[in-house]
Every structure is written in C-alpha cells, then in structure tokens.
C-alpha cells in the first residue's frame, strides 16, 4: 500500500507541476520567410455577392506590403476558404484552415452564426489560434472567457444601436419608430442595444429568420407599419444589404419610399450594393446610416486615396468600394499587429502585442480603437451618415460628429478623437 501511495503522490505532483508549466509558444504557420494567415468567409452565394471582395482586398494589401519588404523579412500569404455564409461550412472550412493549411492566425472571419460555430468546431481556444479583426459586430465575441483569442474590429451591434437611439432622440423627436431585424444574435444584439439606450419602439421589432425576407414578406411588413403610424416614422433596418434592398424595393413598389425615414444599420447600408441590387437612386437619397470608416468615395481622405492606389496596382479588375476599404483597413491593422509582435513571432506573442499596443495602431477609422488587456472591442463608436442619390455617404446634418460608447450600459458620448496620421505610403513602420 505504501508504494502505491508514494507512486500516486509522485504522479499527482508531476501532473500538477506539468499543468502549471505554460504551453510552449506556438509558431505554427511561421517560417523564417513567411507568415500564413487564413480566412473563412462567403465568396459565393447571396452573402458572397456582397462580401466576396473583402478577402481579395486583404490579400492585395498584403501583396503591397510583401513588395515593400514584408513584415520583419517575412512575406504574408492569405489562405481564403469559401463558406457561403453557412455555419456548417464555416465550421469545416475553419477546421481545415487549422488542421490542413496550418495557418498561424485567422483574420477577418465573417458572420455571427458562422463564426461562433466555427470557433467552437475548430477548437480555436484550445489551439490558442489568434482570431483577428473578425468581420462581425456581435457583442458576444467580446466575452474573453468564451472567445479568448478573438479581437473584434467592428463596433458591436449593441453599440451601433445605442448610437442610433441617440440619433433618433436628437433628430426625430415625437416620430413613431419601428424596427425590422434579422432573427439571430446579430439582430437581437441590435434590439438589446436599443433597450439599453432606453428607446422604446412603437411596436415590437419585427424579426425575420435569415434568408427569409422575400419581396412579399417585405411588402406585408411595410404595409402594416405604414398603416400603424401617421406622420413620417423612422424605420430601423437591422439586416444585411440584400435584405435592405428587398425592403427598399418593396417600398418603391408600394410607393412608401417617402413615408418612412430609413435608418439602415451599417451592415445593410452599402450604397453601391443597394444600387447594384436594383434600388433606385431616388430611394437611397436620404437613407441614414452609421459608419466608422470614411466613405469609400471620399477622395479627400488620405487613407482612401492610398488604398485606391493599392487597389489599382494589386487588385486588378476590382472596383474600389466600402468593402475593399474595410478589407484593406483590417489588413493594415494586421500588419501592425504582426510587426508589434516582434521577430520572434508566436501566437501568444501576437495576442499580447495587440492587447498592449493595438489601441495606438494607425488606421482609416475615424473613431478610437479600444483593445487592451481587458477589452477585445475594436472601434468603439460611429459617425452618422446620410446617403445621397449618388450613393455617397456624407455626415448627417453636414458636420462630422463622432459618437463613442461601450458595449454595456454606458452612455453615448460625443468624442473629439483625431485619428493617427497615416504612415508614409500606407506602409506601417511600427514595432
């Protein structure tokens, strides 16, 4: 008995000792001359039509950096896998990125349902795979316990909703307000944001399952809402751009385009896409939205000009728009993160670098970045825009006002943030 007790004591102690030894720093996907990044995102399907340009834009920016020395002598390659915005496919594709392509980190994963499923299925937490600058604003991703390696970049949908609530309060007092939102975590995040901000809609928000907003359904919803309130109610649309287009086209058919003030969430308000999907310029004129980046048509913005230049040279055949701008912006942040992590590049090191230095990174964003040791929130605010018939987004009310807030119950404040100057030629030199 004594020997068995001694043996088990040794085993138990060794186990305890071994468990507190930190996991060895992981450099999978990194060689002396290369860094392999990966992304699972829709390239085909209805979401692919809208978001298909983003990974190519990221790759174009990486190619530009590679042509200018890379990061600490390493060239960045991006493995792109198509998940058609389907959670199951996102799960298997992300698993393939980790197991088969053996990427160092993920960047720009898209979608709430898709990425939350992919995160679990691909065991990203267990493998400590950095999950950078995801292309979704679901506030659940700020939960470090559940998503320890994830860094958001878009402000959360809850934050956007809070800013919208303030905009409605300040500019449309007394009007009835309605909301149509996607029936999943994305939409309910928005609904929750309005509730936190203390805003009460004139009727319960209409929720529709993703992919189910047909023309008929849109017409039915609009007819009901138009009948429900006099005057010019504000209609908040919290869905993807294809759904916003369906609803706006239904409004055209029912001649209700002037009946509502449309307040379209940033996810569903890309003017180019709306026009391409058949919405009339006169309908888009006046649609209110929110953004944290400059408008892709603002040629006075140095970041926009630089990205257009890179796009022309490294992304041939692709028209520059807000999606290309967003992709390149995330790529620029990624390059700064990789630089900040140093020559001895490890997964853990990359995560710490963003926590320590990320909030100071240069980017096109007109609002502050919030990464820190305790926060995984990227941009923490919005400026309110209004579209004109040409599809340009200009500051609502004529003057650029930056609103910042948190993802919790904090108030919405007006900020006097000025963004860092763009590094020369758009090539970061940070460390």
């Amino acid at each position: 008995m004594k020997r068995a007790t001694l043996a088990s004591a040794i085993v138990a102690t060794s186990a305890m000792v071994l468990s507190i030894v930190p996991a060895h720093a992981d450099s999978t996907g990194v060689t002396a001359t290369s860094i392999k990044l990966g992304v699972s995102t829709p390239l085909t399907g209805s979401a692919g039509l809208v978001y298909g340009k983003v990974p190519g834009a990221m790759r174009a920016y990486f190619d530009y950096i590679n042509a200018n020395g890379g990061v600490n002598g390493r060239k960045i390659s991006l493995v792109i896998r198509d998940d058609k915005y389907l959670p199951t496919l996102a799960a298997t594709q992300t698993t393939n990125l980790i197991l088969k392509d053996k990427v160092f980190a993920l960047v720009g994963a898209l979608g709430t349902a898709t990425h939350s499923k992919a995160y679990t299925a691909a065991a990203l937490a267990k493998n400590n795979v950095p999950d950078l600058f995801i292309n979704t604003g679901f506030s659940g991703f700020t939960n470090k316990a559940k998503y320890p390696t994830t860094f958001m970049v878009l402000p959360t949908y809850a934050m956007e909703a809070k800013v919208m609530a303030k905009v409605i309060k300040d500019n449309f007092p007394g009007q009835a307000t309605f909301m149509i939102a996607q029936d999943d975590e994305f939409g309910s995040d928005g609904v929750a944001g309005f509730t936190t901000a203390g805003h009460k809609f004139s009727s319960t928000p209409t929720l529709y399952p993703q992919g189910s907003m047909t023309a008929a359904r849109a017409e039915g919803a609009l007819t009901a809402l138009a009948a429900a309130a006099p005057g010019k109610p504000v209609l908040v649309l919290f869905g993807t751009t294809d759904v916003t287009a369906t609803i706006l086209k239904a409004a055209e058919k029912l001649e209700l385009t002037k009946k509502f003030t449309f307040l379209a969430g940033s996810v569903g308000a890309d003017a180019n896409t709306l026009l391409a999907l058949g919405v009339k310029p006169t309908t888009i004129d006046g649609v209110v939205s929110a953004s944290f980046l400059p408008d892709a048509k603002d040629l006075t913005d140095p970041y926009v000009k630089q990205f257009i230049d890179i796009n022309t040279k490294y992304n041939k055949g692709v028209t520059f728009d807000n999606y290309v701008l967003g992709g390149m912006n995330s790529a620029m942040l990624t390059v700064q993160a990789l630089r900040a992590a140093g020559k001895n590049l490890t997964r853990a090191g990359l995560i710490s670098a963003i926590e320590a230095k990320g909030s100071k990174f240069a980017s096109a964003g007109l609002v502050p970045l919030g990464w820190s040791a305790t926060s995984r929130v990227g941009y923490n605010g919005y400026w309110v825009s209004q579209l004109n018939a040409k599809g340009e987004g200009q500051p609502y009310g004529g003057k650029l006002v930056i609103y910042t807030t948190d993802s919790g119950a904090g108030a919405v404040e007006i900020s006097n943030f000025t963004r860092p100057t763009m590094p020369k030629n758009g090539i970061p030199t940070n460390s």
Binding site: T44, G52, P87, T88, A113, S116, K117, T120, Q210
Partner: protein
C-alpha cells in the same frame, strides 16, 4: 435450429464478431499513428460509411429509392442535439436517441409512403429533403440558422490533457459505425434479411410465397432511418452543432452517388464510399489550386464531381462495380 443447413449460423456470427473486433482494434492502432487532420477526415469517413449503409439497406436491399436520407439524418441530429443540450442527457444517450427518433420517424414515413414506389417515392422523399431542414426556422427551440450545440464533451480525463479532440471524435464515430454496421450485416444475412432481397428482386413472387411485402418495406424504412439518424448525430458531433445548413439536398445526392458508385447492393463498399466522399473535396481543392481557379470554385466543384461520377457509374456499371468484378471469375 430446425431449418436445413443452419448448423453453422452461430459460428458465422461469432466469426463476424471477431472480424469486426479485429478491425476495430486495427483502427484503434491506426488512430494512434496519424495526425489530427487524418483523424478528423477518418471520422467523416466513418459517418458517411454509416449513412451509405442506410441507403444500401433501403434501396439496395429493399428496393425503395429515397432521395431524402439527409432529412432523416437531420431528424437524428436534432433529436440528439436536443437530448444532450436541452434535456441534458449523457452524450451516449443522445446518440441512441438520434437513432431511435429517426427510426420512429422513418417508421411513420414508411407507413405513409407504403403505397408509393419508384419515382413517386423518390419525389416524396425529395420533397422531404428540401423542406425538413427549413422547419428549424419555424420552431424557436430548434435554434433556426444558428442551430443547437451538439457537444459530446471532452475526452475522459484518464486519457490525459493532450488527448486530441479529433481522436476522441474518431473513436466515437468509428465505434458507433462498427456497432451499427455489425448489427445490419447480421440482420441482412439472417433469414429475415433474405426476405428483403426476395422483395427487391420480385415483389409479386415474394408476396405469393407469404412474405408481407408492405410490412417489410415499412420495417426497412424504419431501420434504414435509424441508421441514417445515427450518422446524422455523428456528423453534427464533428461540427459541434446542428443547423439546417448541415443537411443540404446535395448531401442526399452525394450519399446516393457514393452508394451507387461503390455498390448499391452490398455493404462491402460502404467504407470505400465514405472514403470517396471525403476524398472528393480534397481532389477539388488540389485541382483548383493546380489550375489556378478562384477559391469560390472549390466549393462548387465537389458537387459537380459527384454528379459526374453518378452519371458514369449508372452508364457503365448499372448494377454496381461489384458485378463488373464478378464477370471475370
């Protein structure tokens, strides 16, 4: 046993059991020698092989063409997910529920479709395959597009902290598939199993010799659905959760295609069928990178390859490749 020539029946079953255990042991050893990626793919092979088994049973052995196996897999998957996530039962119970609930569903379906055959049955099952997954959007408890988590839990602590999650999946899926296929093989080689073949080859003669054709077909549907349901549960285990997008119509066609290509009338080809289904996306991947196509093409190509294989198989080996081999005896 009073029937002639049945003396060696128990020994055959025991021999089969021994073979299955031996095969399982081989898989166990193999599992220790390969990487996570191979284990992940191996789990899919086992799951698909099981799904193909259900098709061989239903179409190959009882002569009923169903284009809706993916719907039955979905029923099993949701049943399993609800059992584990909502009801909080043990994962093994969850997997058993996947088989049971799908089996009951198949029983009802079989009863409803009892008078249908050929293209009419195919059409009905096709409609089911298209419509069933969208039901998830109608009932909030089914979680709509996000679905329900299907978590079999981490590997037992006694295997150590470094025990790969993918090895754990492989063990579970391979074991479940082995057990179920063993059961089916025994069923099909029994006297009851021979009545299946009788009904498939000549339903009128079978009826005349006293076999209750209707009841048999319904039973075949039920058992096949149970097998499909279990494979559905295993499939969503691999992706950590069930959602409608896990069971598209293309899955039914892929499974049927693989079953036809590797032999619809025999269970010998099911593992090969599973391998084919896992290999096709890999082939598509390397094809696309070699010819330099866009990444979007990579997800479209597998469906095309499956369709092409199916057409080729039907044209050149209508009775399955096994028959081709037999000719050379």
């Amino acid at each position: 046993m009073k029937k002639a020539g049945k003396v060696h029946k128990p020994t055959t079953t025991r021999k089969r059991l021994f073979l299955f255990i031996l095969f399982g042991w081989l898989l166990l050893i193999l599992g220790d020698r390969v990487g996570d990626l191979e284990l992940y793919q191996g789990s899919f092979v086992a799951t698909y092989a099981l799904a193909i088994t259900s098709i061989v049973l239903l179409t190959g052995y009882s002569g009923q063409l169903s284009l809706g196996q993916s719907a039955l897999m979905a029923v099993g998957a949701y049943a399993g997910a609800l059992s584990i996530f909502n009801a909080g039962w043990h994962p093994v119970v969850g997997l058993i529920m996947s088989a049971l609930v799908a089996g009951v569903f198949g029983l009802i379906l079989g009863l409803v479709a009892a008078r249908l055959s050929g293209p009419y049955l195919a059409g009905t099952t096709l409609a089911l395959a298209i419509s069933l997954p969208t039901l998830a959007n109608q009932f909030p408890i089914l979680g709509a597009e996000e679905g329900i988590s299907f978590d079999v839990g981490p590997s037992p602590a006694r295997f150590g902290e470094d025990f790969s999650q993918y090895k754990w999946f492989f063990w579970i899926s391979a074991l479940a598939a082995l057990i179920m296929v063993f059961f089916i093989v025994n069923l099909l080689t029994s006297r009851y199993g021979r009545t299946f073949k009788a009904v498939r080859d000549n339903p009128v003669a079978a009826q005349l010799s006293g076999i209750n054709v209707g009841r048999l077909k319904v039973n075949a549907f039920a058992i096949s659905s149970g097998v499909a349901g279990l494979s559905g549960g295993l499939l969503v285990m691999l992706i950590s959760g069930v959602s409608p997008s896990a069971f598209p119509l293309s899955l039914s066609f892929s499974l049927l295609g693989a079953a036809v290509v590797t032999g619809l009338y025999s269970l010998k080809g099911v593992i090969l069928g599973g391998l084919v289904l896992v290999a096709i996306p890999e082939i598509a991947d390397s094809l696309v990178s070699r010819i330099g196509g866009s990444e979007g093409f990579t997800t479209v190509l597998p469906g095309f390859i499956v369709s092409a294989l199916l057409i080729l198989a039907v044209v050149f080996t209508p009775n399955g490749p096994g028959h081709l081999l037999k000719k050379h005896h």
